[in-house]
Amino acid sequence: MSRRLRLWLLATGSAGVAALLVAAALDLPAFGGRWHPYGERAVQASLSRRTANTIASVNFDQRAYDTLGEIGILFAAVLGCVVLLRLARDEHRARPEPAEVARPVRRYALIVLPVALLTGIYLVAHGQLSPGGGFQGGVVAATALHLLYLGADYRALERARPLAVFETTDALAVGAYVVLGLAGVVAGTACLANTLLPYGTFNTLSSGGAVPLLNAAVGMEVASAVVVLLAGFLDQAVEIEE
């Protein structure tokens, strides 16, 4: 297809889609309106199971089964990256030279690293109470580790990040999520129904039944997934040569 024809096709298709989208937007409930039937029911369900953070309740209680599918996608995507970014037959590894780092950068990175790591772990642990949770906390913790690459060099990062351990943790975390779901089945309730554990006291670390545990599993998985992903791309950039 010629480029000109393709652009015409795109213009026609886009105009059609745009017309449909505008028509749909005009029919949606007005922006900022008061009518949120699902939201209100989600808040009620979250309060009845003593989870202070409704978003965590939606993710790890009300739609915990969907979240299982989502972390499945996450796991599969990371697996695909590991396979695609492996060392090919006609490539070899070169040891990267230690790099000079400006002193203020080094100082800043090494001071911020433990703080950022702790923040990540805090976000995961308090996912059922305050804005945060496994998804965000995992990303924060994993990127905190990479301050080592900025502040020191690639070898220091490699020593702090045994890749096999993180790959295993990734798999184990998905496994833990599945096991928590199956525990419900074995105990006679439904998979991931959050009726197995006591709900605890509202607004404390132990509230929400299975929510904190599922949250921790997702936090572990996201953290190790991000570490493994970045390791793959950094390897390509720093170590692997044709």
Partner: protein, 115 residues
């Protein structure tokens, strides 16, 4: 202006589609796909917004004391961001392999698949 945020989402989506279709660089195309995806975040969060609403988290507010924005769409957006990031990484890894094997990242030059 009660539909403006929805129209912004539609605009961002179509911009991403335009970029995808006219892209001459696969890395650029992956970026455009990310733009398409962000339009869904705008749409979801716009649907869930409520005038004067606060975050649906009860660690420091009494239940029922304030109007709340919709937690369901926020939860959907949240998971999609992380899953989207890893899928983008997978696509970039594919682009990396294509660049290595074929020596180009222009989709027009990848006419036929080679073994």
């Amino acid at each position: 202006m009660h539909v403006f945020p929805y129209l912004v989402a539609a605009y961002v989506f179509l911009t991403g589609c335009h970029g995808l279709a006219t892209s001459r660089n696969l890395i650029h195309a992956v970026g455009c796909l990310a733009v398409c995806q962000s339009s869904t975040y705008i749409l979801l969060l716009a649907v869930g917004y409520r005038d004067g609403g606060t975050a649906p988290v009860f660690s420091d507010i009494r239940p029922g004391s304030r109007p709340l924005v919709d937690p369901v769409v926020q939860a959907l957006t949240l998971t999609d961001i992380v899953v989207g990031a890893t899928v983008t990484a997978l696509l970039l890894a594919l682009v990396l392999q294509i660049a290595k094997r074929h020596g180009t990242v222009d989709p027009d030059e990848l006419r036929e698949l080679r073994g």
